[in-house]
Symmetry: C2
Subunit: 279 residues, 2 copies
């Protein structure tokens, strides 16, 4: 069986940067998972004694605290900065941008519309920067805009990992509802590139393996792209989840990985697929 990697996959700039920051600060702690990948979190703990904390109380037990790639809420960051000894912000710069836009636009009187998942930490963080919470709306579909008190001017931002087409639809829907719409293209190119490469690869294989955290939004999107192209595609976090029967009678296996998946995991997966398909 032929095994082929997507032309673009895995770690994006923001994740690489956050991992570098963590490695440069041994014995620190990250507030929330630094990236959506448990194996990489385990590696940072084992090799660099980088801890993972999920409450302000626990955070204060550490001298150095690292803010994860997805960012945290403005209020929480303020508390940590006040109480902690040292706070290092590893928020991806592509996430910092919508945070700043939301803060500035809400101060300028724009109603804020965020295209994203309201339960995702990135979006909780971005939304927290609005100075007018009652005029801040988070939607995943243009149908959710109906009946919202949008006012006359709206600023629109997107979760960095969302699909551009849906964002265009939401923007188009808003154009005729308000006097002024300010659309910021905050979708990350790395996400597009991984998505386009996955789409291309999924078309020509008969089985596809997508590697990434089960709660990773961008990995789930890669998996959904594959699902639209072929029946046999599997979302795994590491090589231990692979099953021999997936590759039975298959001729061509595609492999891709979400933005939080380190190369060493991808290599282990590829090695294991080779083993399972040849034995």
């Amino acid at each position: 069986m032929k095994i082929e990697l997507a032309k673009s996959y895995g770690f994006c700039y923001g994740v690489k940067r956050a991992i570098d920051i963590a490695e440069e600060h041994p014995n620190s702690a990250t507030f929330g998972p630094i990236i959506h990948n448990q194996d990489e979190i385990d590696r940072l703990k084992k090799d660099y004694n980088v801890d993972l904390v999920d409450s302000v109380d626990k955070a204060l037990e550490h001298d150095t605290l690292i803010i994860r790639t997805h960012g945290i809420t403005k209020e929480r960051l303020k508390t940590l900065k006040k109480d902690s000894k040292k706070v290092i912000n590893a928020t991806c710069p592509y996430v910092t941008t919508p945070q700043q836009i939301v803060e500035k636009m809400s101060k300028d009187g724009y109603t804020i519309v965020i295209f994203g998942d309201k339960n995702h930490p990135e979006i909780e963080g971005v939304a927290s920067y609005s100075v007018d919470k009652e005029r801040t709306f988070i939607v995943l579909d243009e149908s959710e805009l109906v009946g919202l008190p949008l006012g006359v001017k709206v600023a629109l931002v997107a979760q960095t990992t969302r699909k551009p087409q849906k964002y265009q639809e939401i923007a188009a829907s808003l154009v005729v509802r308000v006097a002024e719409l300010r659309v910021f293209n905050t979708i990350c190119n790395a996400t597009f590139e991984n998505q386009d490469a996955t789409d291309e690869l999924a078309k020509k294989v008969d089985v596809m393996v997508v590697i990434g955290g089960k709660n990773s939004s961008n990995t789930k999107q890669l998996h959904s792209i594959c699902k639209s192209k072929l029946e046999d595609c599997y979302h795994i976090e590491n090589e231990r989840e692979l099953k021999k029967e997936w590759f039975k009678d298959k001729k061509h296996c595609g492999v891709t990985a979400g933005a939080s998946t380190p190369d060493w995991i991808i290599s282990s997966v590829v090695e294991k697929i080779k083993e399972l398909s040849s034995s």
Copy 2:
């Protein structure tokens, strides 16, 4: 034969306002046709001695000069104001808005994209307010955006009489091409209302008469809406163009009129249709 008027038709706010201004200034002149309706222009000349001039030289022969509803270029307005004795601006406020937006946004470093017809006086006027002509683009379709040097931030305005759906498509296309897109909804509601009412009426009649200037953009759009619904629809400027054979064997005639068509012309047309269809 039943004759039915569209629920909304004819003069919009800006046109009513311009006619009032002209009537309040007898013996003045308008620079370019004040509205796209020759019969109304003739009436203003006959009843109020309001002249029509089309050059700066001729304009200077008058004490009072009226700027037409569609506006004129910034440069020309400046020349007239400097040289004329009195300049009264009857530019529709809904046209003044995109002029001001284009001026402000181009000063703020935005590339200007105008959705409209580059040969229409309104658009010539609006575009003239850009302080950076090389970064001002006029398009009628999103395909014309391909390859344009748009830069990172774009401000988008529309000709007041354009269809919202096409505007949404152009906006959607720009969302993913630039970092920031600022869309101003400069399409006039009066146009929507006349269009919606025409669409509704065209569905239930077997012949349709559209009244308005042959060079009136909004009247041409009403005609095009009718054409998509039924074969027998006619664009006329006044009752003298009506033909008896249009109404032969017809049961239900719809009548609508563009934003520059005065009520007295519409009444004459309806009377003439009655006469032709009953004789």
